[in-house]
Subunit: 420 residues, 2 copies
């Protein structure tokens, strides 16, 4: 257990270290899913080319494949056209020297042919009959031109996709080329979410003046989904030890338990003591960041299984959101076996901000300027209890604490969906 208040960088390093340790002991299990369902998943297996690509010599152009014996056709040469090689209907047999076949892009280059001449460099196609008797070449063409030779793009057995790769549309296309109707992916980590607090009511209720609707468990569920996990909302626990204990116990069966609220050090903050009672070992409690100071991180040992990671996030909406983005996302990418999320660097623009003793994590927007500079526009600072303050940003900018102005011209930026 780390005592005292640590920096956000230190907190992130601890989360990564624990998640890595657990993953090395017990990697996430894998499962097969249909190709169309694999979008956004993380590959659990590597995939290699099942043959050379192209699988045979192919034409890169519409035109004529000619057999010159290797010298390459010259302007004004003429060839008899003895057949056609269309994409779906190859020319059958070998091409005799001095002959040509009409060939379309992607068509198999017949045995014996050594060069493809683009239709633009010939007397052209006869579109009336659909087949020519002869073709004249109108430009000198290098031997071997316009042919994609067998295996020139991808060798048989070449590694195309690796475990840990995120499946996007391009990966789906590649997996289809490889004939993979099903794909081996990492099982999504399960994040169970418990909202705590006597003042928190379900969204279907009309809150009394001192109450608030539970919104954090919904945004955390969505953030978990965006991070490649499954979010399960267990409900709202009142600040009563038995209620917390019962819900936390269920949460501790998942890969990750996220509790919301009740971690600051007040009278009614039973979250920490209940977690300890349930055998959760504290890694840290308190980060020098704003918002998010009272954030808690721990782990719970389990017989024969990977430990459960436990995040106690503060309950102000901006605090919950920011600490999830900064800490829980780091853990989930490691449990998923995926590449770690990178931080960006961007020029600070716009609204002034304070640089007090704690690092601040501020909702912001990225913008790519016409001159190619990446600019981050910090949202107007709002109280961390304002549940709508997050609508002003798609990323978070990290403003260092106690920083000189020149240290804050370029800021670290995390999360979100990139510049728009």
């Amino acid at each position: 257990m780390v005592t005292g208040t640590i920096s956000l960088d230190e907190a992130q390093a601890l989360v990564r270290a624990v998640a890595t340790e657990l993953s090395e002991a017990h990697a996430s299990s894998t499962e097969r899913c249909a190709l169309a369902d694999s979008l956004g998943r993380i590959l659990a297996a590597g995939y290699r080319s099942d043959g050379p690509w192209p699988s045979t010599d192919r034409s890169a152009m519409d035109g004529f494949a000619v057999a010159t014996g290797g010298a390459g056709p010259r302007a004004s040469e003429e060839f008899p056209v003895v057949g056609r090689s269309l994409a779906g209907q190859p020319f059958v047999g070998a091409l005799e020297p001095g002959n040509a076949v009409r060939i379309m892009t992607g068509g198999v280059v017949p045995e014996g042919a050594d060069t493809v001449v683009r239709v633009e460099d010939t007397s052209g196609f006869d579109d009336t009959s659909g087949s020519e008797e002869r073709v004249s070449i109108t430009a000198d063409v290098e031997a071997g031109a316009n042919i994609r030779p067998q295996g020139s793009e991808v060798e048989e057995g070449a590694v195309l996709l690796n475990p840990g790769d995120l499946v996007g549309p391009a990966e789906i296309g590649a997996l289809a080329v490889l004939g993979q109707a099903e794909v081996e992916v990492v099982r999504r980590p399960v994040v169970r979410i418990v909202s705590t607090g006597d003042e928190v009511v379900d969204l279907t209720e009309t809150p009394k003046p001192h109450q608030v609707r539970d919104s954090n468990s919904w945004s955390v569920q969505a953030l978990a989904e965006r991070s490649g996990a499954t979010g399960e909302r267990l409900g709202i626990a009142n600040d009563v030890e038995e209620e917390l204990e019962q819900m936390f116990s269920r949460g501790l069966e998942a890969d990750v338990l996220v509790t919301i609220g009740g971690v600051s050090k007040g009278t009614h903050d039973l979250v920490h003591s209940t977690l300890e009672k349930l055998g959760v070992q504290t890694v840290f409690h308190g980060i020098a960041m704003k918002p998010g100071k009272p954030t808690y991180f721990g782990r719970r040992a389990r017989e024969g299984r990977r430990d459960c990671l436990v995040f106690g996030l503060p309950g102000n909406p901006q605090s919950t959101y920011a600490t999830f983005q900064m800490l829980v996302v780091e853990a989930l990418s490691i449990l998923n076996g995926a590449a770690p999320r990178a931080e960006l660097q961007a020029h600070a623009a716009g609204v002034p901000w304070r640089s007090n003793w704690r690092e601040q994590v501020v909702p912001a927007r990225l913008r790519a300027q016409e001159d190619g500079r990446l600019v981050v526009e910090l949202a107007r600072l709002k109280p961390s209890g304002d549940p709508f303050g997050l609508l002003d940003g798609t990323v978070f900018a990290r403003v260092p604490g106690e920083a000189a102005p020149e240290e804050t011209k370029v800021l670290r930026v995390v999360g979100g969906e990139g510049p728009r």
Copy 2:
């Protein structure tokens, strides 16, 4: 119908103009979905604050709410503590002048109290008894400090979310605060996808040397999903008029029909003639871009319904993918009523590229440098038939045709998932 070959910018403008015209005549219908399912959808309605926020005066800190009569408490002043205001258990009644209550962050500031003093600026909490008899102030505090007044963050009726907004985790949180268990969203446009070509076989088959597995319909389906649409793969049509006609007819019932392959001007390219026969009106056929030159765009009128948009994309994997990103995505964002996708500007880095007469659209990766410059790394150019060439990029860089070197230092960048 536009004759001749147009630029990519002109093609995009035509797609936007037609999609806008159709949307203005018949907007997409809307539907209600459960809050948890609304992630990634486009709002069809605006949402306003259903009350002031905060709903009452709230404490921004753990500490003591004091009734000073308006002057603000001074260092060494002492107040009797007459009760507590916790987040879920407000102090009942009004606070008499000269009295204090213990108050926790988010707690309702009692009537009569004018200032909250942070616990750090007092003699502190008595954690043994859980309630103090008296509290001493240890620093001068401004009147009104540490109170979030009712309505100071959001006024009742303030517009928080607008039609066309993309629902992300922050929007889900905001909708939960507003008590929206169901959300009004735009019905996803349906994109029907037909692969064409005698050489194309299903991914479950082992292709003969002259054949290729259908991969484009899979990547297009994934791209459609990423663009907020539903992709429906209708299958593979051979280059036979009856087969094309039958599948295209089914496709023309959707919002968008995407055909893949068979649009270049060869003997067996029946796609265009079949579309015309089915009443599709050509908007353009041919773009000065590489890859993607033979791309076709048209529209089909329908009785009492919005026209179907028809995209005939070329069949080389890189061509299909690039033309979808450049053109179909533009149409889908308009049908969705969403904000148009913006282009970025980034510094070109890395691999050299050719600048021939046509604009080139090159798979690339974005990287934010430590100095805050956004850099785009172009992938090594690969033949557009290489189905794995797209794995080298997450975005497309637009390299202008016939450009002087200084015109290509900063490139336009489109699509993908932002810098990583």
